[in-house]
């Protein structure tokens, strides 16, 4: 019985991230529009977009290979699995030990690997430009992310997210300089990974500096729906990650009744809303940077993360 309940909670988490991901993107778009004094599309517009795309037929480039058709599902699956492994409203779920934070980062790396390949499959210059820039960004963002993971792991003594979240919620954390550095670096990496301003612009097409949109240019119909859905999930994943590590309050830690879980979900949605508003304000306030300024931006994130880790190594003996 207990096992069934645990599996149900795990399943609920998987469905929850799936259901909330388009809503978060729609919410960010709405807030951005309101900040620009536009009415903006409805909150459920991303769901409508997804449904519309799924119902449409796929127009495939003449020389697209089988890989091109498989990749959208792989990307979606890898991102979904990664998102479902992050504690959203509760820690210590049944399968939370399947992958620790390093493995979650690497799962996103798998998704990116295949996305870059998809960009190169048809053999147009747009796909190539997107893929080559994406791997350049990743080559800086991934080490930065891993160094952030190192800092968190050194503070909490674990790479297991549930343990990290539990530790960060406990009073023994205190204020630490290296955690502050990690937070800033993590936000920078999250902006780059999700193709947000100032690294990439999620709402433009045909801009010479675009990265993500250039790779998926040849996708249409249900394939595009899967890739868009994966992008929504990835944004939700990073927001959940930041909130579960840096604002861990309200997470359900022990097995408890439905009431506690409902409260946990409500708190989680509140955190998402807060992060969404902050993201929209940030994106409205800042301009997009040239693509070859991105290495400086991410290099700063990398250095901050390295400094945070070094501090932890050095302060261990003081």
């Amino acid at each position: 019985m207990a096992l069934i309940a645990e599996l149900a909670v795990q399943g609920a988490q998987m469905m929850l991230v799936l259901l909330l991901a388009p809503l978060l993107t729609g919410f960010v778009r709405k807030v951005k529009a309101r900040l620009l004094r536009r009415q903006g599309p409805s909150l459920i517009q991303p769901y409508r977009d997804l449904l519309r795309l799924m119902r449409k037929e796929v127009v495939l480039a003449g020389n697209a290979s089988w890989l091109f058709r498989v990749i959208p599902y792989l990307i979606f699956a890898a991102t979904w699995v990664a998102a479902a492994l992050i504690p959203t409203f509760a820690t210590g779920l049944t399968f939370s030990w399947t992958a620790d934070l390093i493995a979650i980062v690497a799962l996103l790396g798998s998704a990116r690997f295949f996305l870059a390949l998809a960009g190169m499959d048809v053999g147009t210059s747009f796909g190539g430009i997107g893929a080559s820039r994406e791997v350049m960004i990743a080559s800086l963002a991934e080490p930065a992310m891993l160094l952030i993971v190192f800092s968190l792991a050194l503070v909490a003594g674990a790479t297991q997210l549930s343990t990290v979240a539990a530790f960060m919620g406990s009073p023994e954390v205190g204020l630490r300089v290296s955690l502050g550095m990690s937070l800033i670096a993590l936000v920078m990496v999250a902006l780059a990974e999700n193709a947000r301003i100032p690294v990439d612009n999620p709402s433009t097409h045909l801009e010479l500096t675009m990265v993500h949109e250039a790779m998926v240019l040849e996708y249409s119909g249900r394939h595009l729906a899967m890739i868009e859905f994966a992008a929504f999930l990835k944004l939700l994943l990073y927001v959940s990650l930041i909130s579960c590590v840096f604002i861990p309050w309200g997470l359900v830690t022990a097995r408890s009744g439905p009431g506690a879980y409902a409260l946990g979900v409500a708190v989680y949605i509140g955190k998402l809303a807060l992060s969404g508003i902050l993201l929209a304000v940030f994106e409205t306030a800042i301009a997009k940077m040239r693509v070859f300024r991105v290495p400086d931006f991410l290099g700063a994130a990398l250095m901050l993360a390295l400094l945070g880790t070094l501090l932890l190594f050095v302060s261990r003996s003081l």
Binding site: V58, E218, R222
Partner: protein
Amino acid sequence: MTSIVALLLWGAAAFLGTAMLAVAVSRRGSATHLVYGATLGISAVMFAIATAALTGDPAGVSPVTLPLGLPWIGAHFRLDALSAFFLVVVNLGGTVASLYGLGYGHHEPAPHRVLPFFPAFLAGMNMVVLADDAFTFLLSWEFMSLASWALVMAHHREQDNTRAGYIYLVMASFGTLALLLAFGLLAGPDGTYTFDAMRAAEPSRFAAAAALVLMLLGAGSKAGLVPLHVWLPLAHPAAPSHVSALMSGVMTKVAVYGFLRVVFDLLGEPAWWSGVVVLFLGGLTAVLGILYALMEKDLKRLLAYSTIENIGVIFVSLGLALAFKANAMPSAAALALTAALFHVLNHSFFKSLLFFGAGAVLTATGERNMEKLGGLIHRMPLTSFVFLVGCVSISALPPFNGFVSEWLAFQAILQSPDLPQWGLKVMVPAVGGLLALSAALAAACFVKAFGITFLGRPRSAAVEQAQEVDRYALAAMFTLAALCLLAGILPGLVIDGLSPVTLSLIGSRMPVQMAQPWLSIVPIAESRSSYNGLLVFVFIAISASLAAFVIHRFASHALRRGPAWGCGFPDVTPAAQYTAVSFAQPIRRVFGTFAFRAREKVEMPPPGATAPARLTVEIHDVVWETFYQPITGAVGYATEKLNRLQFLTIRRYLTLVFLYLVTLLLVLALWP
């Protein structure tokens, strides 16, 4: 009862016999089948014996002394857990390479230059691992080097191959010289060359330090540590592809074995700074190796440079293991050593697989240059599938095997804040950053390797005519691809298999993994870190199929083919696609200006002129220009000057001899 060692030596002798046979029959048509069939059988048997020895009790195997070699020493052979593990790696590589050779060998234009040396090469590698005294070790080492040199020179008429062979020969001699001196130091004044005696002797601190440095030079040059790697990207690609696979996937591992044998086994307790040195060299090698690979447009050279990166990753883990061992942290040392050995095994799988794939492409199209390839996924679907598996594995992406060893290395790094020395405290996180950087760059590199070679549109006519390769080659590649996946989803099996090695070298082991629920791997405790490749694989498979099923069932499965969209700006010619060089351009701008002094030069014709605009990219091999050019320059200068001595009269020669004698006698007289 004959001991297992004798049995293995009979195997090595059988390899040598096959080599003799190959000399006799190599010009006949059936020779290819005969020789590769024989090596396939022998390697498979040796692999089975070594696996049994590793899982059994290797300590109980009695050593063998043969009355060969130097008369007062004899040749000692022994099998312990370490050598059993490396025998598994060598003979697994030998088995699949032979299987691949069964088909690939038929495309060989000069089989008599390959067939005799292939079994000899395998024999040499087996004997290095079995050797139990310095003399036998060095002899086998040289035999292995020379056999592989002969294989590198198999196509000696091709451009650059003679240069590759020459540089390889010089570097191999240099490496052996370093090893010779290292063993000389370890043997001490009484000249006991058996490993047992060296293990029992306590070398002085100076001798141990010098031996470590010499091992780094000797084994490091064979393995490809920066800056001793220069021969590797020249020599490995020059050989036939199944030999390239053996050289990259297996011979570099034999070099790692040599390093492990001396530094972890014979030298006794390491000094803490040795960890710093090895970590630094490993991190440098990993990042520089993969950056070189990214700049490369020759597929086989790209793979060779990526071997350098992987050697760097292995040496990072070895450095961590040394640091932990020096500070008496046995469980952390066992974790780091397991990560290193796991990566040794993984790299032998996926690098062999990738070289086989490159060989298949070479057979099908006659091209190694990626700028002339493209779109092969349509012509060679099976090869491209296994090559993709290799690319995903080597990029350290879950759920494949490369990720597991990298994950273990990261877990080992997270153990290191407790190290007391400041040098290590500062070095380890920096190297951790380098390791993460090299992993991300490796993914970029293999997106490029797969994307440019197999995806997109064909860039030359040869590609449009390409045919899938023969079934032997496919069988070899599919075997390795399956092993990559298996080691990725059942890592506990490998980790438990490695425990006898860490027990014998460190005296500790990782906890038993196969007993974990759901076959997870848990290095220390589940609340700290755990990873379950099997479940990750199953989850991804289920959610991908579920998504595809739901959409096809309830939404739409209609599909229409049309021309590529390309934002309404279709490229007319395949030459307008992204190439290997243009793909690397963003990374070259970020890292290359520093690492390679890369410069881009644009020549724009004046308005109205009909001359084409040109973009030239200038890249410097900084290591070659800093370390090797001065040496070759100095050698050239000295030989130029000494050349005059060839044309003297007899009187002058006599004068020289007389002066030399006098000087010698004076030195002897003045010697205290």
